[in-house]
C-alpha cells in the first residue's frame, strides 16, 4: 500500500470503547484538579499561618494597648498612631531617628567595604594562579563552616587593645576585609561561571589587571554584587550580638539594641510602642527585599546548588 493507510479490517471499536476512553479522561482531569486544589489549600493554609504573626504585628502597632489584649484580629477597631509617636520618643534622651542613623553609620561602610574587598578577593581567586591558592580557598570554605563563637572572645580582646570598644569599627572593619566568607564564595562561583573572553580582549587593548577589574569585570559582576549588598544590608540591620558586645553608650545604639532597650524600659503593658518600633525596624529590610526580590532568591539558590 502506498497511500495513507486505512483500516483493513472493519474497525468497530464501537461507541462503548470511545465512551470508556472519554470517561477515563474525565476521571484523570478531575484527579488532576483535586490534586491542584489540595496543593493550593495546603500552601494557602501554611502561608496564612506563617504570615499572620507579621500581619498581626502591623495591625497591633496601630492599636491601643487595651485592644491588643482584647482580640486576635489584626484590624484595629480604633486605629491610632499613639504607639508610633510614643515609641519614637523612647524613654531615652534620643529618638528612634538617632538609632536609625546609627544603624546607617554601620551599614554604609560595611556594605561598601564588603563590596569592594570581596570583589577584589573573588577576582584574585577566579582569575589568577598564585602560591597557596588552594590553601587559601580552602580557608574560605573553612570559615564558611566555622562556628564563629570560637573567635568572638579573642576578637573582643583585640578590639579592646585597639581601643575600638564602644565604636562602630569592630562592626564593619572585618567585613571590609573580605571577612564574610559567604560573599567571597558566592562571587567566586559567579565569576567562575563567566568566560574570560572579554577580559582577554581588554588585555589585548592594553588594560592592566586593575583596569580590567574595574571596567570589565565589575559590570559583569553587577547582579551578584547587588545580591551581596542586599544580603549584607539585611543581615546588618538584624545584627544584635555584635552591637551588644561592642557598643555600650546608648547614644550609639543601632536599632537592634534600641529595641532591646525599649523592652527593658517600657512599662509591661505598653506593648503598642514596642510593636510599633519593631515594625519600623523591619520595614527597611522588607522594603529592600521586595524591591529586589529577584536578586535575593536567585542568589541564594545559585549558591545553594553549587555548594
Amino acid at each position: 500500500m502506498t497511500d495513507i493507510s486505512h483500516a483493513s479490517d472493519v474497525f468497530t471499536a464501537g461507541a462503548d470503547a470511545l465512551a470508556e476512553a472519554r470517561r477515563h479522561q474525565r476521571i484523570q482531569q478531575r484527579r488532576a484538579r483535586i490534586s491542584a486544589i489540595l496543593r493550593y489549600a495546603i500552601l494557602f493554609g501554611v502561608g496564612l499561618v506563617m504570615l499572620y504573626p507579621l500581619i498581626w504585628l502591623v495591625g497591633a502597632s496601630l492599636k491601643t494597648n487595651a485592644e491588643i489584649f482584647a482580640n486576635p484580629g489584626f484590624i484595629p477597631r480604633e486605629p491610632t498612631t499613639e504607639g508610633y509617636v510614643q515609641g519614637w520618643e523612647t524613654s531615652t534622651p534620643y529618638t528612634f531617628g538617632r538609632f536609625f542613623w546609627n544603624s546607617f553609620l554601620i551599614i554604609l561602610p560595611k556594605t561598601i567595604g564588603t563590596a569592594i574587598s570581596c570583589t577584589m578577593v573573588a577576582y584574585g581567586f577566579a582569575r589568577f594562579d598564585f602560591p597557596l591558592k588552594k590553601l587559601l580557598f580552602t580557608s574560605v570554605i573553612a570559615i564558611l563552616l566555622l562556628p564563629n563563637v570560637v573567635t568572638r572572645i579573642p576578637q573582643y580582646i583585640l578590639f579592646r587593645e585597639l581601643g575600638w570598644l564602644d565604636s562602630f569599627l569592630p562592626l564593619w572593619v572585618p567585613s571590609a576585609m573580605a571577612g564574610d566568607a559567604f560573599f567571597v564564595f558566592m562571587l567566586v562561583q559567579f565569576l567562575r561561571a563567566i568566560p574570560d573572553d572579554m577580559e582577554q580582549a581588554a588585555r589585548v587593548d592594553g588594560c592592566n589587571s586593575w583596569q580590567t577589574l574595574l571596567f570589565v569585570v565589575v559590570p559583569m559582576l553587577a547582579p551578584a554584587l547587588i545580591s551581596v549588598c542586599l544580603f549584607q544590608f539585611m543581615w546588618t540591620m538584624n545584627d544584635f550580638l555584635g552591637p551588644l558586645i561592642y557598643i555600650s553608650s546608648v547614644d550609639k545604639y543601632p536599632v537592634s539594641l534600641a529595641l532591646k532597650l525599649s523592652i527593658d524600659t517600657t512599662e509591661a503593658f505598653e506593648w503598642n510602642r514596642i510593636l510599633a518600633m519593631s515594625v519600623l525596624t523591619i520595614t527597611p529590610a522588607l522594603a529592600v527585599f521586595f524591591m529586589a526580590q529577584k536578586y535575593f532568591i536567585e542568589g541564594i539558590s545559585a549558591g545553594g546548588i553549587k555548594g
Binding site: T2, I4, F11, A21
Partner: protein, 370 residues
C-alpha cells in the same frame, strides 16, 4: 511482540491548537516503522501518545488486542529510548537496567540474569558497574537500549535516539540498531518498533516502512523504495532524497509539459498514467535522473550557476527559465563537459518523471498498484 494500531488519533492543546489531526496507522508485528518529518510535524507527540506520556484527546491506540488509551505507561507493554538517554544518574548501569524489572516484582536473581543476557547482546558487560556519567555517548545509548530491551516489550519506541551523537557515531549506531532488530527477529524475539527521527537518511536506511508526517498529518506511509520512486505528493518528494528533487512549474499540454519557454515531452507511458491534467502543475525529477545531454534532441537548456565538487560526483546547479535545478553528473562526465560554455543541456529521463498538482500537492502520475 505485537501489532500497533492508531485510529483517528488526535491531540488538541488548550482546546484550540490541533497538533495531531486524526491519524491512522498500522504497524505490523515485528515491523520497524519510522516516523519522520520536519520539526513541528508532531511525530514526537504521536510517539508520546503511544507511550502514554501525553494525553490523547481523541482516537484509539491498540497494542495487540488491547486498547491502551487509558493505561499507565508502565502497563502498556512498551519501552522507550529517549533522546538524552534518561539514565538514572545515581544508579549504576546494572541497577539502571534492572530498575523496571524490580518495580515489576522480579526477584534479585531473575533481574540479575536478565541483566547479564542483555549486557551480552549489547556488548556492555564491562560497563555494568559504572555510573552513567562515566559512559561515553555511544555507551550510554546502548545502555538505554538495554534498559528497553530487558523488559521484552510488545512495542519499542525510539525518540530521536541518535540526535545527540556525532556523525560518525550516529552511522555506526544506526547499523547496530538495525542489526539488532534483524538478529532478534531471526531468534524469534523481534519487537515492533516505532522510531522517530527528523533525519531522512536514518529513516531511509533503517525503516521497513516509513511514515512521513507534516503538521500533524500523515503524508505517506510506504517502504523506502516506494517513497523514493513513487512519492505520493510534493512534500514527500521534496523531503526524501538528497539532493532534493527538482520541481519545475508549468502545465500539461497534451503529451508535453510546458514550462516557460521550453517543452518537455512526457512520453506515452507517463501520459497514459496521468489521473488528471491540472492547470497548475509541476514536473518533478530527481537530480540523479536529469542527465547531461550529449545531443540537442529533446534536451533543455539551462544557465549554469554553480558547481559543487563531491569527489566522485559533481552537483551542477543551474537556472532553467529562472527556476533552480540541480543535476548530478559523474566526475568523468564533468571532465568531458565543455566548461567554457555557461549553458548546459539537460535530458530528463522520462521513466522517472512525476507530475504533481501544484494546488493539492498530489502526484497525478503514480503507477497503478501492482
Amino acid at each position: 511482540m505485537a501489532r500497533l494500531q492508531l485510529r483517528n488519533l488526535e491531540k488538541v492543546y488548550g482546546g484550540a491548537f490541533k497538533a495531531v489531526h486524526g491519524i491512522n496507522l498500522d504497524v505490523e508485528e515485528g515491523e520497524f516503522m519510522v516516523l519522520v518529518g520536519p520539526s513541528g510535524c508532531a511525530k514526537s507527540t504521536t510517539l508520546r501518545m503511544i507511550a502514554g506520556l501525553e494525553e490523547i484527546t481523541a482516537g484509539e491506540i491498540r497494542i495487540g488486542d488491547r486498547i491502551v488509551n487509558t493505561l499507565e505507561p508502565g502497563k502498556r507493554g512498551i519501552a522507550m529510548v529517549f533522546q538524552n538517554y534518561a539514565l538514572y544518574p545515581h544508579m549504576k548501569v546494572r541497577t539502571n537496567l534492572a530498575f523496571g524489572l524490580r518495580i515489576g516484582g522480579a526477584s534479585k536473581a531473575e533481574a540479575a540474569k536478565a541483566v547479564e543476557e542483555v549486557a551480552k547482546i549489547l556488548e556492555i558487560e564491562p560497563l555494568l558497574d559504572r555510573l552513567p556519567k562515566q559512559l561515553s555517548g555511544g555507551q550510554a545509548q546502548r545502555v538505554a537500549l538495554g534498559r528497553a530491551l530487558i523488559k521484552k516489550p510488545d512495542v519499542f519506541l525510539f525518540d530521536e535516539p541518535l540526535s545527540n551523537l556525532d556523525a560518525k557515531l550516529r552511522a555506526s549506531m544506526r547499523v547496530r540498531i538495525t542489526d539488532l532488530h534483524k538478529r532478534l527477529k531471526r531468534e524469534g524475539m523481534a519487537s515492533t518498533v516505532v522510531y522517530v527521527t527528523h533525519d531522512q537518511t536514518e529513516a531511509m536506511t533503517m525503516g521497513d516502512r516509513i511514515c512521513v508526517m507534516k503538521d500533524g498529518h500523515i503524508m505517506q506511509v510506504a517502504t523506502p523504495k516506494e517513497l523514493y520512486e513513487q512519492p505520493a505528493n510534493l512534500f514527500v518528494a521534496g523531503f526524501i532524497g538528497s539532493p532534493e528533487m527538482n520541481v519545475i512549474e508549468g502545465h500539461v499540454d497534451g503529451s508535453d509539459f510546458r514550462t516557460g519557454g521550453q517543452v518537455i515531452p512526457l512520453g506515452e507511458a507517463l501520459t497514459s498514467r496521468l489521473s488528471a491534467r491540472p492547470e497548475r502543475a509541476a514536473l518533478g525529477i530527481r537530480p540523479q535522473h536529469l542527465a547531461l545531454a550529449t545531443g540537442i534532441n529533446g534536451a533543455l537548456s539551462a544557465q549554469l550557476r554553480g558547481v559543487e565538487f563531491m569527489g566522485h560526483e559533481v552537483y551542477l546547479h543551474a537556472l532553467l527559465d529562472g527556476r533552480e535545478v540541480t543535476t548530478v553528473a559523474s566526475a568523468a562526465e564533468f571532465e568531458r563537459m565543455d566548461r567554457s560554455l555557461d549553458t548546459i543541456r539537460l535530458l530528463p529521463e522520462a521513466a522517472n518523471m512525476h507530475i504533481f498538482d501544484r494546488d493539492s500537492g498530489r502526484n497525478v502520475s503514480l503507477r497503478a498498484q501492482g
